[in-house]
Symmetry: C2
Subunit: 136 residues, 2 copies
DNA sequence: CAATCCACTAGACGCTGTCCAGATCGCGAC
DNA sequence: GTCGCGATCTGGACAGCGTCTAGTGGATTG
C-alpha cells in the first residue's frame, strides 16, 4: 500500500492532516462510498473533520485525477479510486456497485457513431448477484 | 400522435386531468426532463397542478411502464418516454442527453460474466456533440 | 510583530424527492 | 338529487445531498 502523503504530493495536493485521513480511506476502498459515507468513515478515526472539508477534498481529488465520480445509482454521487477504465454492475437489490474489468466486455462499432465525439464510455449493467460460491 | 387518454387507459391508469396533462408533455418529449422541469412545462399549460402530483404521476408512469427513469447525469433523475432498449450519450458541455439506437453499438461477451445475473444493461457515452451538418 | 495565504469549521442555503393531513373529485347506490 | 366512499390532488413540512460563505487558525514571510 502506497503512502497517502506521497500519492497526494505526486498529484500536486498539499497533504494536510484532513486530506491524508480522507485519502487513507477513500483510495483503498472498494465499496463505492457516497460523500457522506466517506465523512462517517473518516470521522470514526479522525473526529475533528467537518462535512464541508470532506466534500471539498473529494472534489479536489476528482479534479486532480485521484478519484472518479460516478452517477449511477439514485440518491447520490459515489466515488471510485479505480482510475483504469472499467465497467460497472449495479446490484438492484442492495444498490451495491461492483467494478467489472474493462476486457470482460467489449463494445463494438462505437467509433462509427456519426455526430458525436466520444471522450469516454462504459457499460452499465443492472441485475442481481448470483449466489455462487463467493463470500458476500 | 396517440391520444394520451387512450394510452393511460391501456396501462391501467385512471386518466385524470392532471395525469393527462403530464402525459401530453412527457410522452412526447425528447429533452429528458427532470421532475421539476416536467412540473414547469406542465404548469405553463395547466397552472393548477401541484409539485407533489407531478412527482407522484411520474413515479406511477414509471411503475406502469410508460417511462424510464434514468440516473445518468448529476443533480437529478430524468425521464425518457422511449421504452425500447437504447443507449445514452451525455453531452459534457451542456448536460444534454441523447438517445442512441440499440443497434448502433454492440456489446459482446456480456453473457459470459460469472456471478452476475444481468437484467438490463446499456452503454453510457460521454463527450461532445460534433458540429456536423445537423440542426441544433 | 504584522501581513498574507491556505486550509478548515460550522452553519446557512437551495434543490430534489418524499410524506402527510386535509380538501376535493368522480361515481355508484339509494 | 344527495349520500357515501375511495381515489386523487393540494400545499406545506420534512429530510438528505451538495454548495457556499463568513469567520478561525496555523504557517510562512518580511
Amino acid at each position: 500500500m502506497r503512502n497517502s502523503v506521497t500519492v497526494l504530493q505526486e498529484h500536486g495536493i498539499q497533504p494536510s492532516a484532513q486530506r491524508v485521513a480522507v485519502a487513507d480511506y477513500v483510495l483503498q476502498t472498494v465499496e463505492h462510498p457516497s460523500a457522506d459515507l466517506v465523512w462517517n468513515r473518516v470521522k470514526a478515526r479522525v473526529p475533528y473533520i467537518s462535512r464541508a472539508t470532506v466534500y471539498n477534498t473529494l472534489n479536489l481529488f476528482v479534479e486532480k485525477g485521484l478519484l472518479q465520480a460516478l452517477t449511477l445509482a439514485e440518491d447520490s454521487v459515489v466515488f471510485d479510486p479505480k482510475m483504469e477504465r472499467h465497467h460497472h454492475f449495479v446490484d438492484e437489490a442492495s444498490g451495491t456497485i461492483h467494478d467489472i474489468a474493462w476486457d470482460k466486455v467489449q463494445v463494438c462499432n462505437i467509433e462509427g457513431l456519426k455526430g458525436y465525439e466520444i471522450h469516454d464510455y462504459q457499460v452499465v449493467m443492472r441485475g442481481t448477484r448470483k449466489a455462487a460460491r463467493r463470500r458476500t
